[in-house]
């Protein structure tokens, strides 16, 4: 892969948005998009964790798993690394910025099981990114995810007062909106191809 990290960063936000083109990280995307503030908090946390864990996992993969020939254990190892990092981050935030700790609340531990995080780690292995590319891809994907959840939260705030057929309320209408947003993002494709 010889795409520059800079291009990859923007591509991860727009042309191959982790949520709107790969539909990863849907669970928290649907359930935490009721309020803009919490969507923002979770989005920022996801961005940070994505950036750091893609770097960590890249190092672990290339300097531990490959040399020792245990690549087939990558899923378990990646998940453990992500979980440990999130836990570490939680301790750190609680100690030094209690205000942020309280506003993130339960969202922080929830990130452990956000599949966008594992997805990014796996993509960077499959697509054979370099370290710099991986970090750029991780950061871009995080920002892309943040963008998507913020947009949905904004739309859902407007929807609160609207009459929606019973069968479509909640997840139904959110998925339809997500689909339309994804269609909109197709407009960006063709600018750069990363897949």
């Amino acid at each position: 892969m010889d795409i520059s990290a800079f291009v990859l960063f923007w591509a991860a936000i727009f042309t191959s948005n982790i949520l709107l083109t790969n539909f990863l990280g849907m669970c928290s995307y649907l359930s935490v998009s009721r309020e803009i503030e919490s969507a923002m908090g979770l989005g920022l946390a996801v961005t940070f964790v994505l950036t750091v864990t893609s770097a960590l996992n890249w190092v672990v993969y290339h300097y531990l798993l490959v040399p020792f020939g245990i690549v087939y254990l990558q899923y378990i190892i990646f998940i453990v690394v992500i979980a440990a990092f999130v836990q570490f981050l939680e301790l750190l935030i609680e100690r030094y910025t209690p205000a942020l700790y309280y506003s993130l609340g339960i969202f922080l531990p929830l990130i452990t099981v956000n599949c966008a995080i594992l997805g990014v780690s796996l993509f960077m292995i499959i697509r054979n990114y370099s370290f710099i590319q991986s970090v750029a891809f991780g950061a871009g994907s995080g920002i892309g995810w943040l963008l998507a959840i913020l947009m949905l939260a904004g739309v859902r705030r407007k929807l609160k007062e609207k009459l929606i057929p019973v069968g479509l309320r909640g997840a139904g209408i959110s998925l339809i909106i997500t689909g339309i947003m994804a269609l909109g993002f197709i407009g960006f494709s063709g600018i750069v191809q990363v897949q």
Partner: protein, 150 residues
């Protein structure tokens, strides 16, 4: 849809014995988000917003607040009385302050129907569009309120 941890915490606070003796959900088996959604539908059909209902209830509460002995007559046909007991209740949705334990009873003297609601009811309706679950002690039916109090 699955309940988020925050929704679970809210549901837990609505259970009997957490904030109030019988809780906020009554015998309702629906999720509180569903209760809110169904009542919002009912309001849409009635052509009123939750804010208008809350404003109306608050108007009755404020009109009767100073007349601590005996009902105030509001808008000629309503007998309104507010009683306050010691203490405050927090909102089950969290992070929104505390509400006085006041009970306002509004009686429509023409139809004879009366409603009792608390300061917390007004907040729940205004901010969360939550009218409480079926058979809950302070459940308010949107269509009855609109029919009797407007």
């Amino acid at each position: 849809m699955k309940q988020t941890p925050i929704d679970k915490r809210i549901t837990a606070r609505m259970q009997p014995g957490n904030l109030t003796y019988n809780g906020f959900l009554g015998t309702d088996r629906r999720d509180f988000r569903q209760i809110i959604a169904d009542d919002e539908m009912a309001l849409d059909k009635l052509g009123k917003t939750a804010e208008e209902i809350a404003d109306r209830l608050e108007y009755f509460q404020n009109q009767s607040y100073d007349s601590f002995q005996g009902p105030a007559i509001v808008d000629k046909i309503y007998e309104v009385e507010t009683e306050v007991v010691r203490g405050f209740l927090p909102c089950p949705f969290g992070h929104n302050g505390i509400y006085r334990k006041s009970f306002t009873t509004v009686k429509n003297t023409i139809t004879g129907k009366s409603f009792t609601f608390t300061a917390l009811n007004i907040h729940l309706i205004r901010e969360h569009h939550f009218f409480e679950g079926k058979d809950s002690h302070f459940r308010l039916e949107p269509h009855e309120i609109v029919a009797e109090l407007f």
